[in-house]
Subunit: 500 residues, 2 copies
């Protein structure tokens, strides 16, 4: 029962839990507790550091709420809908197409509302909850709607369903700030909202979720080559192309360069598939469960010329899309140009054109879940999370062996030294076995104990989470040693005097 | 015209700008551009580090959207309103009480809707925009309302107007995770929303804004003494008490300890006033413009027994409230207990009680604005932002003297070294004067230039933003030197060979 375990531990240890519990929780809303909020913060930090430092992206932050105009232009007001049907008796809403597919085991792809309504009647599909009759089929828009301002002049508004459009709107300003050069990369972190009909998949399908979406604006005549492709070309990826799926083939292991050489996708997309898989692995997600899957032609959004997902094969939820990488062409900027009457054209080397966009759209909650699931370890009667020190809520915990004789004060001083040096260091006190147990369940990679000998030999014991090995290290070296073992520059066993 | 300058530079250099510009901007929504988003991130990081590391707060993250229940319990559904009146001709909405006060120069405090309506008619107050008649006075709720889920069973929901209630709701879970001890500190960062009638004050009054709210749950019998008060007792504060205001006195400069000794407030509130003023000063906000002001009895929220604000005296906007520190008593937890029927009592040392709460509620956007305004410097024809290295978007920029002869490659290597060491380092290239100019306007405290001599002497020049002094430093020492001068451990002039 691995999956129960993950969710049980996550809840018990305060990684996350359903929101508004005291009033009865509502599907699709989760609250991150102390460990989860820190884990999420580290994961966002990793993605941000990579895109800002290594890819040169500009970071921006736009509002979540906006007037409808951009969502009319983007097509969300018209098309961001699910076919919905309700039970005439208990009122429970369902995805009409999904319900019909479950009953008939046949695809509803391309069917109109009317057809689906007819087939639901013909097949006598009934409410799965109470057996009542299903009625009132309609297209249900997944944006949360509200109004800005009071009275007659109030403005219809929506909570954004993605960050992307809020990055496209100020493109002209961003192009100026980026000194009128392409490619221009811009990344935005923040909440987005989808008013799902009936979400029941924990962090994997939320009505309010966190994203990190990078938009690269490109010259369409200079779109395929990526200047840093050589850095990732040897990265091995598990690949499932659209052709594989059509032909029912299992996919292949390929190097990133193979994806391009076989003309399966562009260097830009292959580059970011490799970068994303590497990032996910560095977070602690099991690389053998990651797959790069290309969208089929009939599945891809109409504005995209090529889309890939990196998927994680979860024990609890099946396939989870962690990031979507799409060539969105010039569709979005042209639509904003058309609807706002503001030019989105740039003039580069005497050519005027609307840039194309390659988007890398990360969910944050799903990677958080996947890291937690991937890192759960059972070792005899020990249970721990093997979070890498880059994402673990705490990198190091410091304990006094006992809560007396001045030991707590000394342990706190060591914690302070580590905090000042920039490490995520926690202080705790109590029975030592209990303290280790807690840090195992928090996934803290290293624990430091200040004991009675510490006063004499000016040294402390460091315990490694994964194999419980212990080394003795001089207190004056502690910052360097923790830096060395966290970064992996020095092997744990070599970083001090190995005990036992 | 200092204030125009701040807003002009902020917009031109991409700190922030009105959102949705291409569709016509809407009051109360701003987008942070590349420099602003980084500055905001650093400011949030400072507050988070302080409260998590030094105050031992648990960090959590709850949804922004929620069913109405908590907002009924908190009183927001009933009382979070402004009296609104609209123009019968152009439809423009106004605060009815403010409009009447402007016309009559008399306070409307305590007046009912009906009285205000009558006085508006009697005084012939008309629409300031078009001169039309004012009509339709009503209480307007400032929460953004929407619905969760489709159809008949949809749930009425609101965007949160503060983070506080979303921290109180899971109090029982947090108390367990904090091992059933008081005081318990919890902090939450994130967006909140207030559907203001007609906001026109830039970052200072937003409909969508960022907050950092810390809640300390306390034993009411052990509420006044703060264990770390000694650390701040000598901190000098500019203080305006409720008595000063009633008696029209100008206030005093006092040490934090004086606030307690004179029984003006509790140690808990005095402690966090001192901590907040220190944090704001460390961000670069002009300390001589900060004042601790106590709410008057008739101004304080009814649930609070004592409330203080730290205010910044802005050139552009007058008094800006940067943080509110309030003793919220047991009001909120008791209301949630009453409305949810879930006990909020704790059992400590045989006593059962509902904890009291001291809240420290930071805005984020207002400190961001105040830092920008406080740090703008004019020095002859130079203009720069004197951001401290703790909050500056970039701590150090690295340039090649020219864009040829292999200099760019070497400069990039230095940037990489600095990034790997954890500094916020930017690479740029172009004419050196132009590069300095750009970094002055970005507030980057140090610039490093790799020049033709660098190849021979393995050294680079570091230029200090504030006085343009330059030192020559060996490349192999660059990480240590940048660390020393950023932290202030070593004086700039002593950190290398002073040039000129």
């Amino acid at each position: 029962m691995k999956d129960d375990n993950v969710l049980d531990i996550a809840k018990r240890r305060g990684f996350f839990w359903p929101s508004f519990e005291i009033y009865g929780s509502v599907g699709g809303f989760y609250t991150y507790g102390p460990l989860g909020a820190l884990l999420k913060l580290r994961i966002e930090q990793m993605i941000r550091n990579h895109y800002v430092n290594n890819e040169g992206c500009l970071l921006i932050e736009a509002p979540l709420l906006s007037p409808e105009d951009p969502w009319v232009a983007s097509g969300h007001v018209e098309s961001f809908t699910d076919m919905t049907i309700e039970c005439g008796k208990c009122g429970e809403p369902y995805r009409a197409d999904h319900l019909l597919e479950e009953k008939t085991k046949k695809s509803t792809e391309g069917m109109s509302l009317t057809m689906i309504k007819g087939l639901i009647k013909k097949n006598d599909v009934r409410c799965p909850r109470c057996g009542g009759p299903l009625e009132n089929v309609y297209d249900y828009n997944l944006m949360f709607k509200t109004f800005i301002g009071p009275g007659k002049n109030k403005i219809a508004a929506d909570l954004r369903p993605e960050t992307a459009q809020t990055t496209y709107m100020p493109f002209r300003r961003l192009f100026e700030l980026g000194r009128k050069k392409l490619p221009l990369g811009v990344i935005q972190f923040g909440k987005s909202f989808r008013n799902e009909i009936s979400p029941r998949q924990g962090l994997v399908r939320l009505r309010e979720f966190s994203q990190a979406e990078a938009q690269f604006f490109l010259d369409p005549e200079n779109k395929r080559k990526h200047s840093k492709f050589d850095l990732v070309k040897r990265k091995r990826l598990s690949v499932l192309t659209k052709h594989d799926q059509v032909r029912n083939k299992p996919g292949n292991a390929l190097e990133a360069s193979g994806l391009v050489r076989k003309k399966l996708t562009s260097e830009w997309i292959a580059y970011f598939l490799a970068v994303s898989v590497k990032l996910f692995e560095d977070m602690g997600i099991d690389g053998s469960r990651l797959r790069c899957r290309q969208h089929k032609d009939d599945e891809r959004s109409f504005y995209s010329s090529d889309t890939w997902d990196v998927e994680y094969m979860s024990d609890s939820y099946g396939k989870i899309e962690l990031v979507g990488i799409a060539d969105r062409t010039d569709y979005d900027l042209k639509r904003h140009q058309e609807f706002s009457k503001q030019s989105m054209e740039v003039n580069i080397e005497g050519r005027r054109f609307v840039p194309h966009v390659v988007e890398i759209a990360y969910g944050i909650d799903r990677p958080v879940y996947s890291v937690i699931e991937s890192c759960l370890r059972h070792d005899g009667d020990r249970t721990y999370f093997s979070f890498p020190p880059t994402v673990s809520p705490y990198q190091v915990a410091v304990f006094p062996l006992v809560k007396k004789d001045g030991l707590p004060k000394k342990a706190r001083e060591i914690q302070k030294t580590l905090l000042d040096a920039g490490f995520y260091a926690l202080y705790d006190e109590g029975f030592i076995g209990r303290l280790y147990y807690r840090q195992d369940e928090a996934g803290t990679p290293f624990c430091i104990t200040y004991d009675y000998d510490s006063k004499k030999d000016n040294s402390v014991t460091i315990r490694k989470r994964d194999d419980q090995k212990q080394i003795r290290v001089r207190i004056k070296d502690i910052v360097n040693v923790i830096g060395d073992i966290i970064s992996g520059r020095v092997k744990f066993e070599k970083a001090g005097k190995l005990l036992k």
